[in-house]
């Protein structure tokens, strides 16, 4: 008996350890590290004229009038870190491809602050090269989203997709958890920073942890799905929906995801969902990164359990029949 109990404890303990080991490998897998080493921009020298000041928090310049060297802090919104830029999708650009060449003059002429900034569609619209991204459909989605209503307040593509640092995440994803973190940080950049949020909205501060306190295992959900899974309307035509819904239309029914027809297959796992089953599990592709109760039932285990249950019920029915017969025989004497 003692042996049996000890065996049970050992077997039970076998399944539970802390997650330290798995987390330790994250830095090695950062795709940015390899890219930075491999990619050398043809405009590196030109860009360095800008990065010299804008590439870090501190910059310095010679004040020729006073004959002094001035050290100052760069405005955080004007800092573009080299390591972020050179792994971004626009890494092969020269700064002056998008910004006025007059910026090479220092101090920068004041009127340059008023320059009209390009929008995504200015470069990507109507271009066959980028047709797989369906920028026009993305714009249609965006124009129906709650974000579009804030355009007059200054909302634009850049609020979510900083052209200096943005990199495609979902199509290039080698580690979905990192992609989820990257994508969620885009939302949290404004939605968890009230100062930034106030630039676009007069709403009172929202504590998103509190507004999501109905969600069981909140941290696990935040790690495993993107905000847009619940807060956008899924599009059949584009990979990442840009139609951000009003909060009262966000998904709040658990079984929208926790079911055989999990909406995650049409959103988070859309790109990889060619594979419908893996090892007998429904929506098996989800299981590369997560496990969703109700969506990842194992078809083989399901069939086996039904078969065992059927055999048990059949055995009971046969037993009952024999009991009835025996009783009838006894009555007959």
């Amino acid at each position: 008996m003692k042996m049996l109990f000890a065996g049970v404890l050992v077997a039970a303990a076998f399944g539970f350890y802390t997650e330290a080991r798995a987390l330790s490998g994250r830095a090695d897998s950062d795709p940015g590290t390899a890219d930075t080493l491999a990619f050398v921009s043809p405009f590196m020298e030109d860009n360095e004229r800008c990065f010299k000041c804008h590439g870090q928090g501190k910059y310095e310049y010679e004040n020729e009038l006073l004959g002094t060297t001035v050290k100052a802090l760069m405005c955080p919104d004007r800092i573009i870190r080299r390591e972020d830029f050179y792994i971004s999708n626009h890494r092969s650009f020269s700064c002056t491809d998008c910004h006025s060449s007059d910026y090479v003059v220092f101090p920068h002429p004041g009127e340059l602050r008023m320059e009209l900034k390009f929008n995504c569609l200015d470069c990507h619209g109507g271009d066959e090269t980028y047709s797989i991204f369906s920028f026009e459909m993305i714009e249609e989605d965006y124009m129906e989203s709650v974000h579009y209503k804030l355009e007059d307040e200054g909302f634009s593509c850049w609020k979510c997709h900083d052209p200096h640092t943005y990199r495609i995440s979902m199509r290039d994803s080698k580690n979905l958890k990192e992609t989820i973190l990257y994508d969620n940080n885009i939302c949290l950049y404004c939605h968890s920073d009230y100062t930034r949020f106030q630039i676009l909205s007069d709403r009172e501060e929202v504590n998103f942890l509190k507004t999501h306190d109905w969600l069981p295992n909140q941290a696990s959900h935040f790690r495993s799905v993107r905000c847009i899974e619940c807060h956008t309307q899924i599009s059949d035509s584009i990979l990442v929906s840009h139609l951000v819904l009003p909060k009262d239309r966000a998904v709040k029914l658990c079984n929208e995801c926790h079911s055989k027809n999990s909406l995650l297959m049409a959103s988070l796992y859309k790109f990889q969902s060619m594979e419908q089953r893996r090892g007998g599990f429904l929506n098996g592709i989800i299981m590369n990164e997560s496990y969703v109760i109700g969506a990842n039932r194992n078809a083989y285990l399901g069939t086996l359990s039904l078969a065992i249950f059927g055999v048990v019920i059949l055995a009971i029915v046969i037993h009952v029949i024999f009991r009835i017969k025996t009783k009838a025989n006894l009555k007959k004497g």
Binding site: M1, L4, F5, V8, L9, A11, A12, A13, G15, F16, Y17, T18, E19, R21, A22, L23, W214, P216, N217, A219, S220, L253, C254, N255, H258, S259, K260, N261, M287, S290, Y291, I293, G294, N296, R297, N298, L301, S305, I308, F309, V312, I313, I316, H319, F322, R323, K325, T326, L330
Partner: protein, 214 residues
């Protein structure tokens, strides 16, 4: 004979209710998309009630363990390892043929021996292996951050869940067989009545019957 003390009966009744709630809420989570079936309840409600009921079950299980030690009830679960397989065989044969031939129960219930060898084995497996595994894996499901991330390349959470639902399935099968075998008393309702009143209704014994346990 008075065989089931009040504490055991109360624990048994509570345990039965909790297990049934856990099975219904567990199936509801697993088959959430089959909401048209009568026993499938809303996922959010299923999660909430599964968690609440599970915590009560853990407390009830600890109570059971203590009660077993304090009251001496644990002795009824002690398996006679010397004749285990032959005793199991006798009991099994009785269920599949002996009882239809009018044979007497090979291990009649007495104050010294409440359970037959098959009962002892299944109760021990369920209470001392099945339930601990369900409880531990259940904690892993309730607090995913404590489960191993990967084991041999497979998500620890998946393994934990498979262990949980496999054990839960075995408990469900046990429950069905347990309820059915409880109709095998002197009358189909005798054993159920016994678990309510505490008094076991003995089989009519013929004078020549000799218990194999003796």
């Amino acid at each position: 004979m008075y065989l089931y003390p009040l504490g055991i009966r109360l624990w048994h009744a509570l345990n039965a209710i909790l297990i049934i709630i856990l099975i219904i809420t567990g199936i509801s989570m697993q088959y959430t998309d089959k909401g048209n079936l009568v026993f499938i309840i809303d996922f959010a409600a299923a999660v909430k009630w599964h968690n609440i009921t599970a915590i009560i079950l853990v407390i009830s299980y600890i109570f059971f363990l203590i009660l077993n030690i304090v009251s001496g009830n644990a002795k009824y679960y002690r398996i006679n390892r010397n004749n285990l397989f032959s005793d199991l065989g006798k009991q099994f044969r009785y269920y599949v043929s002996g009882m239809f031939k009018g044979e007497k129960h090979p291990f009649p219930v007495s104050m010294e021996s409440k359970f037959n060898p098959l009962q002892k084995l299944t109760y021990v497996l369920i209470m001392y292996a099945g339930l601990p595994l369900i409880i531990i894996s259940g904690f892993g499901m309730m607090f995913p951050e404590i489960t191993i991330v990967k084991l041999f390349g497979v998500s620890g959470f998946i393994l934990t869940d498979i262990l949980h639902i496999t054990m839960a399935f075995l408990v469900t099968v046990f429950l069905v067989i347990h309820i059915y075998t409880c109709t095998l008393g002197t009358k189909p309702t005798s054993l159920f009545r016994g678990m309510i009143t505490g008094y076991h209704e003995p089989e009519e014994e013929s004078p020549e019957e000799v218990s194999p346990e003796k």
